[in-house]
Subunit: 691 residues, 2 copies
């Protein structure tokens, strides 16, 4: 056992990278399998091509815009920090962009094939959509493990362990900041196109969703790919990389005498790639209702990880580890990792309850739609707020337990084990937009109605899955951010000791500066989301004006005699999204810099700010994504024929709720997730610059 | 100077009570002046009578319901604390109910007289409405100063200074808890009736607001009186009393050697009664636009207080005071009091900006209504979140400054001086529902359209004033709650020292228990408001069913041939409001008790909970009341003839926003204000019981 333990200690990081490569190989096989399927008839290929072209054009421009900002930050890091941190930043930023690009490309491949598969059977369509998502899941996780692993290994060799760990924070910033941009840019794009298309198309011109006569319909479908697929992939890449880096950081800062502390998070990640692969195989073999099969895959994946974590933990920690003055056994650490796996399951079940058409909350909103728009909105807002209680309660319990087992490091480990499930969880998330787009292609290609019925049913499952993964992302982001806050405090301490200054910060709630920090930080999620919603509103307004212009200039479009100019809508929403994402995306960086620069505020107010952002950010994000998911499915529930069905008064009210929910759940809410980490990472990076 | 200083130290509390009595006498003169005016024709008196009867019936039942709960708490306090705390609780609860009752009675007197005065001129109507509100303002402030002053003076004589101060916490609990009930019960009542009346009346049957054919119209008008007048009066009584008690508590706990520290808050309160009286006289004399005159009155009032505080502070503190190891001069304390006055002005200006029809935010919502219900809602939600930034920023600055001048006591003083403006501020607040009701009476009595136009114009001003006072109430509540949290920590320390236990609590953000406390506390405003909104939804549903039943059973009602049964609607909404208020009102007490009782959580988690509730409570309350006020006035702005005016598509969308805003601004949002204080007061009270 000791012999093996030494081995895994030495080769743990490498082994995890081998796991990542195996996952990537499996993803490659899945891609081959998906591509082999028929992409449908000419009309379908043509539409898919137009969507792909629009998505590529958007991502290309997004890369240009973000690159300018990234270049500035690179230079600043190079001057004020060091070149490895700056290089780390570029790697993180680059991988975040790549993750998004891959997510989009695969989704576009899978969309049309899912529509085609739906002409065979529901389960065939589900498998194509799921496998498309699974490729993204495996690629994102593999990319994160590999980029962090390679950078850490090389930096370790070149500049030593301590500096290598410090430079990793640069990689984390690159991943997080770019992910805020991707989430916001993509989120603004998708919802501006969606809301814009709906407002003129559905409401003014009485067109169905995805009607090819609507000039914004291609833009709408492009949006699903650049927002829900590319944005989400960048976001989860970021969450994974930052959680891994956070765990490494805490391990290095608080457990400097135990090299295994840095290797352990890598090993957990590597093991879970295998879990994800088995989960994906499970979906391809199992039979049953889509929701049940998908949930089963998550369970299977978690079980595999839980079993394999045990020997790995014991091999890495053959002797007790002293954390916070107490000797912790390998079992203590193992239990901390189990907390993360359990949290994943719990969050999935809770969010599923609040956003699935099968349970009381969504039906309550649907019922409230019968008395009108306003009661639909009130019910949805209330459900979103209710939905915060259980996740936050369980996050509290997870913190208590994992801290009990292994202090701050225990929290870091439980976050890492939670994130290690990302491979399988993203497979579920990407499932949603792929089926949504497949439905769009089916309608635009005028395929038989039965096919749309199948994609609609899968879309409802997809809505819940999307909400579920958002719950998962924000819960893990909250925990990861707390780990980063812990790192901030440790870094601050180390920095003061190193520069010979007396360290005496308590961060006590009885200090007014802490309270003020909590207020400033608490404000951030509120105005960040306010700006994001404004951005969607402005961009959607631009789409509405363009669609109205086209329909007025060419009245033949609505009669089906003239073809609309899809390209201008795609172009307008591309420009608007990129323009509108800048201000909200830079807000968190600005907040931290301003507080750090005002001498009378200093490190204590900044510490309060970090925690304040986490606290209100968690609530705002969970409330927004839950409300949004529930509104969407309340509409779906009515469209299934309940409470009067399509065309009823209740349906009109439910469309209002769905539209309000769009920026809630797909722009503002999920962007909080990388945002709260950006705040914490920037704070860590600026310590030696300002304090 | 020294001779005078001794005098004011000895007689300061008495002098403040004399000030209170003078204020009450002036209020008495105002009542006489209002009553002397004509109450209008028979039809108007009849309607006003029906409204009054409904309001009285509701308040009577509310008293019965609350008394049962109060009796239980009285017994618990008597057993687990002491008899003076229990007696204090009863006094606080009683005065809170009395304040509400008086607020309602005066509003009912002023409503019909305002409608009548509107037949003469706009300024006559404005004065009647304002003077009606002013009576409430002066009575509430007088009642608070007198009840706290008399209780403190007598308890001081009978049980000594230390125990007297401790028992005051009982009075604070009575005031706060009853005020939560009054705010919620009244808030649920008014919005259930309003939403219910609108949903069936306006939307289904196409009736105008306050159409006498709508069976829920009397209930709607009763609601304005029991919610906006009675609930608000109880709420501000509570805020005033608790801020005064908080300042006394902090003075006694941290400045035990300076008797002036306890007298000072009384003196500030007494002085500002004079300021309020002068402000009220100003409104009765000045000419100009309603909004300008009302704002001028606030400015005049603040100026008088600012001038008179200076000699009073110097007389009370002739020598330096040692606070937190630093000697503070009288000027330092004076500056702390100025911070409170300035904060009042700043919050008034900011909230005015976000909710008045004259500025960009409301017009933005109005503009967004042109593209439909959903964009109206998104814009309103975003404005509410934007509106949190400046108030919270200034609260932060106020904390920094007042703490800089005189530590925690400085914050307590600035809260007290902020609250000392309540006399004039409530005059503005009560103005809103009085003009609203006057408009209702005008329509129901079929008075000429010009009269409704005047009351509508005043109503728009009233909406802004209501929003403004809510901003003021929540900002001061946030600060007051922080003072109470400071008292909690001091009490905890004192308790541990007294019982010989080692006190070692840091309440540091680096402790997981503090974070968990912040999460649990942060959750409270979210689910508290969620439950409150659900309550409005349920009660409104009951009204909708009853109105539909009546309109179906007697089709003649809509043709004006049959009279509706107003009484059953009043009865139904009374029962529903009282039933639905219980759960949310008891939530904050429950949270504190559960956390206190779980041994592994204890005082640290509870401390985090208190701060967490304040932090998210501030944001949620400001966002909700601002959104609500802005939606309401966006509708008013369109009804003034902008963007298509009444009956346009934009107008329909703006009605949706207004309806969503109803429970936001009049039920859930403002109830957070007493709620965050209940949490803190209960925590202080249970220290010796559980720790």
């Amino acid at each position: 056992m000791t012999f093996l333990a030494l081995d895994i200690l030495k080769y743990g990081v490498t082994l995890s990278m081998v796991g990542a490569v195996l996952g990537l190989l499996f993803a490659f096989l899945l891609i081959k399998a998906v591509i082999r399927l028929s992409a449908g008839n000419d009309r379908m290929r043509q539409i898919a091509g137009a969507v792909e072209e629009g998505a590529k054009a958007y991502l290309k421009r997004q890369v240009v815009t973000i690159s300018v900002i990234a270049a500035v930050i690179f230079v600043l890091l190079f001057i004020f920090r060091d070149k490895f941190t700056a290089i780390g930043f570029v790697i993180g930023a680059f991988c975040s962009l790549v993750a998004g690009y891959i997510g989009m490309r695969i989704a576009v491949l899978a969309n049309t094939r899912t529509a085609q598969a739906a002409s065979q059977s529901r389960s065939a369509a589900m498998r194509v959509a799921f496998n498309g998502g699974a490729v993204t899941g495996l690629l994102v996780v593999g990319l994160a493990l590999l980029s962090v692993g390679i950078f850490y290994t090389l930096a370790n060799r070149w500049i030593g362990h301590d500096l290598a760990v410090k430079s990793l924070v640069g990689l984390a910033l690159g991943a997080s900041l770019i992910s805020v941009f991707a989430r916001l840019g993509g989120g603004i794009y998708t919802k501006a196109a969606d809301v814009g298309a709906d407002l003129v198309g559905k409401i003014e011109s009485n067109l169905e969703e995805d009607d090819p006569r609507n000039p914004a319909t291609i833009a709408d479908n492009v949006g699903d790919n650049v927002g829900d697929c590319a944005g989400m992939a960048a976001d989860v890449f970021e969450t994974y990389a930052v959680s891994l880096i956070g765990a490494i950081l805490v391990g290095a800062l608080t457990l400097g005498n135990y090299p295994a502390a840095v290797v352990y998070p890598f090993v957990l990640g590597g093991i879970s790639v295998l879990g994800a692969v088995l989960g994906i195989l499970f979906v391809n073999i199992a039979r049953g209702k889509p929701a049940t099969v998908l949930m089963g895959a998550v369970g299977a994946s978690a079980l595999v990880s839980a079993i394999l974590y045990w020997p790995a933990t014991h091999m890495l920690f053959p002797n007790a580890v002293n954390i916070g003055g107490i000797d912790r056994s390998a079992n203590d650490l193992y239990f901390a990792s189990l907390v993360g796996l359990l949290m994943t399951g719990i969050v999935v079940v809770i969010t599923n309850y609040y956003t699935s058409t099968r349970y009381a909350p969504v039906r309550k909103i649907a019922k409230a739609s019968e008395t009108g728009h306003a009661t639909n909105i009130i019910a949805g807002l209330a459900i979103g707020q209710h939905a915060t209680a259980l996740p936050v309660g369980f996050i509290g319990i997870a913190i208590l337990l994992s801290f009990h087992f292994a202090g701050l490091y225990g929290i870091a480990i439980s976050v890492m084990s939670m994130l290690s499930m990302a491979g399988i969880i993203i497979s579920l998330d990407a499932f949603g937009p792929i089926t949504d787009n497949a439905g769009g292609i089916a309608v635009m290609s005028q395929l038989p109605k039965e096919i749309r019925a199948i994609t609609d049913e899968l879309d409802a499952v997809g809505n819940t899955m999307k909400a579920v993964t958002k719950g998962y992302a924000i819960a893990s982001a909250g925990l990861a951010a707390l780990v980063l806050f812990g790192s901030y405090v440790e870094e601050l301490k180390a920095h003061f000791n190193a520069s010979g200054k007396a360290y005496s910060f308590q961060f006590s709630l009885t200090e007014p500066k802490v309270i003020i920090g909590l207020f400033i930080g608490g404000l951030l999620p509120f105005i960040f989301t306010a700006f994001s919603m404004d951005a969607v509103g402005k961009a959607a307004g631009a789409v509405v004006r363009e669609v109205r212009r086209q329909l007025t200039a060419k009245p033949g479009i609505l009669r089906g005699e003239d073809t609309p100019d899809y390209g201008t809508c795609v172009d307008i929403v591309t420009k608007a999204a990129l323009r509108e994402m800048i201000v909200p995306a830079l807000l968190p960086v600005l907040f931290v810099l301003v507080v750090a620069m005002i001498k009378s505020l200093g490190p204590v107010v900044l510490g309060g700010l970090l925690v304040g952002t986490i606290v209100t950010g968690l609530f705002v994000a969970i409330a927004m994504t839950s409300s949004g998911g529930a509104w969407d499915n309340a509409k779906k529930y009515i469209e299934e024929g309940n409470l009067g069905g399509k065309g009823s008064f209740a349906h009109a009210a439910s469309v209002t709720g769905d539209t309000v929910g769009d920026p809630y759940k797909d722009t503002a809410g999920p962007a909080i997730n990388p945002m709260i980490k950006v705040v914490n990472i920037v704070a860590i990076l600026i310590i030696p610059i300002f304090f």
